[in-house]
Amino acid sequence: MADDTIPRRDFLTGAGAAGAGAAALTAGVPAAKAAESANAPAETWLVLTADEVAFFSAIADTMIPADALSPSGSECGVPVFIDRQLASAWGAGAKMYRAGPFHPGLPEQGYQLPLTPRDYFAAGVEATNAWTRKTYGKSFDRLSPDQRAEALTAMEAGKAAFENFDSRAFFQRLLAITMEGFFSDPIYGGNRGKASWRMLGFPGLPATYAGKIEEYRGKRYVAEPQSIADFS
């Protein structure tokens, strides 16, 4: 556990740097690109703690590793997306019924906790790190790429025995918010450079295809992707 005593603020200069480091570990991002990220201004975080930034960056880079198809999840801004989402009205539990009494219920009855998304993710990060410390002796972000993948696989299969927290359910929420960050419009802080849209061939806006259905029948429609911001 000794490595966990290193102050986070020294370790992290922002998600870009953390992400670049993680990506370099996993897939050998070109040096120039990594340097560019390292020189980027440090993010100002709305709600995430340094531990959480490190955690979500490591998750994003494990779920979305840098390769020929796209930069890594953290290079694409997924942790920034998560920060802003958890700071949003949604993150604070807007439009969610939160009255008790509380019961675990059956899987058919859906989410039954009083925790807002922000509280739920905070608890999940703590539970995951507690489990990886017990299992690997380190917090999740300090694991090797292979260990991270192994840990996520165990969580996904419900085989990670978290104390007092449902690891499989948490994995699904992590996967969902990470993918939202990778694929949503860049106005939310993720999908930087429309990386995922380029990867898929999704053109984004304006999405006015009247007349194009017949024109592109059986042919791929290709366009430079555009964001909401490009029209604002």
């Binding site: 494990t62 969610m96 019924y97 009255a99 939202e180 999704f202 053109p203 806006l205 999405a207 006015t208």
Partner: protein, 589 residues
């Protein structure tokens, strides 16, 4: 203490499809009408405008247009022996909120039920024997027939500017349309949308197998259109964001795009938004509702709005809840099988499939739901059920449009959900998948119902509505059969890979399945089998009219909105032509 307001001719609770129709029709008849809406107003020019409306995260993931569970939700359990727990955030179904209601974010599938759907019990007993319908199956004939409703179906088509192709014009069958539909008085107002490429491949394969493919009727204008209320609609832009999102082109029909522009000019109409109706004021002795109680969410003040006519046109759950909470009618008692309010809750039994065509370019983000292609060969009266062991059925569709990147990525089963291989497979298949759906009927069962929850409360302190529902053996057998039929067509399409996605044994409130809920305030021929009569008039209060799919005796194998709109127009006509002249019961029990 509620402040008592001046009496009004009619008050409408809920300004979605049915509420919009009633407000328009009653003001045209000369009545002064107040529309009460719990959510916000929605004005397309500013609320549904480009570029912000093209936001998958906001609308499809964070559910911007859906109801606020923090102030009102329902509780749910599969079986009466379980404890129901609250739905803390909508998922399996997505009731909308605000002017336009669920109609703002629907996919626009605009259907009529089959003529034999309206006489379901009689039809089944005539064709399959007097004892063919099991005692647990709580189906019943509608108190209105297809032929009576046809003029109103026709009128609703012309409110919405529906795009499609008729398959039965006044009894003449037309190839390329739905030859299983009831006779239509007129062709659809607009030409069908172009097929998606996946739909075109499906159509060719289905035709080869002897089925009858046709374009899904789509409640959006394929070309600029002026509707019967004089409201101008734009042409569908094939944007691919339709469902869960509103329409920036005002092409997709909703009360906001087809009715409100006229009502906003109508001096006899007043809209009050952000008001939460808590109760109908019921004079049981007079068999009348004297008005409604509501809380203005902008001031916190409670008001009593007296009215000569009360139209209850909220979502299925709120309609049922309002009657139960107001003490109108007899609540359904599951233990004894008696009582009617809350009876015959029916869901829609949808089950999907996917097929993968590596050699076809399918531009999955492009197109409208109207590009889908349907076969209706396996709906209720379309085929012989002898020896199959179930009743019911549904249409089968090769879907179109609506594969934006967060929600619309499809990869074969067994593909990792993350990591490098996931990425490669995601890119490999994004342009090459076709999706299918089966729109299965759900027939009432004595164990599926709604009542008041004993534990949980809404923001006004009222007990929540409690839903007890699970899929029945009949409906599961029906759904498996539909999937086996679509599988035959998919095989004939020659995909590299395909997968059928049957429904799980238990209904679950996650993930999204369908917003088609029905029943709870069902219509029927007498007070012994129904909550409202054939004109949607309450048997217990003659000036109360209950609108929407809550009045359906059961759910048929089609989307409900076409019938919901036709029923509202049918009821409005009767109010205008009979009730106003002689207020009282329109059907004598």
């Amino acid at each position: 203490m509620a402040t008592r307001l001046k009496e009004i001719d009619a008050v409408v609770i809920g300004m979605g499809w049915a509420g919009g129709i009633m407000a328009r029709e009653l003001t045209l008849a000369g009545l002064n009408v107040v529309g009460l809406e719990r959510g916000p107003d929605h004005r397309p020019a500013q609320d549904f405008a480009m570029p912000g409306i093209r936001d998958e995260l906001k609308y499809q993931q964070r559910l911007e247009l859906m109801g606020d569970n923090s102030i009102d939700t329902i509780t749910f359990r599969n079986q009466p022996a379980q404890m129901a727990l609250p739905i803390r955030r909508w998922s399996a179904f997505l009731p909308g909120e605000g002017v336009g209601g669920t109609g703002n974010h629907w996919g626009g599938s605009h259907w009529r039920f089959q003529p034999d759907d309206f006489r379901l019990r009689t039809y089944l007993q005539t064709r399959y024997g007097a004892k063919s319908v099991p005692d647990t199956m709580a189906i019943q004939d509608w108190p209105v027939g297809y032929d009576e409703l046809e003029p109103y179906y026709d009128r609703f088509d012309k409110v919405c500017g529906v795009s499609g192709k008729a398959g039965n014009l006044k009894g003449r069958k037309i190839a390329g349309g739905n030859v299983f539909e009831g006779p239509r008085a007129s062709e659809y107002p607009n030409r069908p949308m172009p097929h998606s490429e996946g739909g075109a491949i499906f159509a060719a394969a289905a035709k080869n197998l002897g089925y009858h493919p046709f374009p899904v009727p789509f409640s959006a204008a394929s070309a600029p259109y002026k509707n019967i209320y004089g409201v101008a609609m734009g042409a569908c832009q094939e944007c691919g964001f339709c469902t869960r999102t509103a329409c920036e082109a005002s092409a997709k029909a909703s009360s906001v795009t087809t009715i409100m522009p006229a009502l906003r000019q109508e001096p006899k109409f007043e809209l009050r938004t952000r008001v939460f109706v808590s109760r109908l004021v019921y004079d049981k002795a007079a068999r009348r509702v004297t008005g409604v109680l509501y809380t203005d969410l902008k001031t916190g003040q409670e008001y009593e709005q007296p009215a000569n006519i009360v139209v209850l046109s909220a979502f299925v759950f709120s309609n049922t809840h309002m009657l139960l909470h107001s003490g109108i009618g007899t609540p359904y008692d599951h233990a004894t099988g008696t009582g009617l309010v809350g009876k015959n809750y029916c869901y829609q039994f949808e089950a999907p499939a996917a097929a993968f065509f590596p050699d076809k370019e399918l531009n999955p983000y492009m197109g409208s739901p109207g590009g889908g292609v349907v076969i209706d060969d396996f709906n209720n009266a379309s085929f012989d059920h002898a020896g199959l062991g179930f009743f019911g059925g549904g249409y089968i569709i090769a879907s179109s449009g609506g594969s934006p990147p967060i929600n619309g990525r499809s990869v074969p089963e067994g593909t990792p959900a993350w990591g490098s291989q996931w990425k490669r497979e995601t890119v490999k298949w994004y342009y090459h998948s076709v999706h299918f759906n089966t729109q299965g009927s759900v027939y009432g069962h004595r164990d599926n119902y709604m009542d008041l929850d004993p534990t949980y409360k809404d923001a006004l302190g009222r007990p929540l509505l409690r839903l007890t529902y699970n899929g029945t053996d009949n409906d599961h057998a029906m759904s498996r059969y539909l999937l086996s039929r679509v599988e035959n067509v998919i095989k004939a399409m020659g995909p590299a890979h395909y997968e059928m996605r049957p429904r799980p044994k238990n209904f679950t409130i996650v993930p999204y399945q369908s917003t088609h809920n029905a029943g709870g305030t069902i219509m029927g021929s007498d007070p012994g089998n129904s909550v409202v009569n054939r004109y949607l008039q309450s048997w217990d209060a003659h000036n109360l009219f209950v609108m929407g799919a809550s009045t359906f005796p059961q759910q048929h194998g089609y989307n409900p909105t076409g019938t919901l709109g036709a029923l509202a127009l049918w009821s409005a006509d009767k109010i205008k032509n009979s009730y106003l002249k002689n207020p009282g019961p329109l059907v004598h029990a």
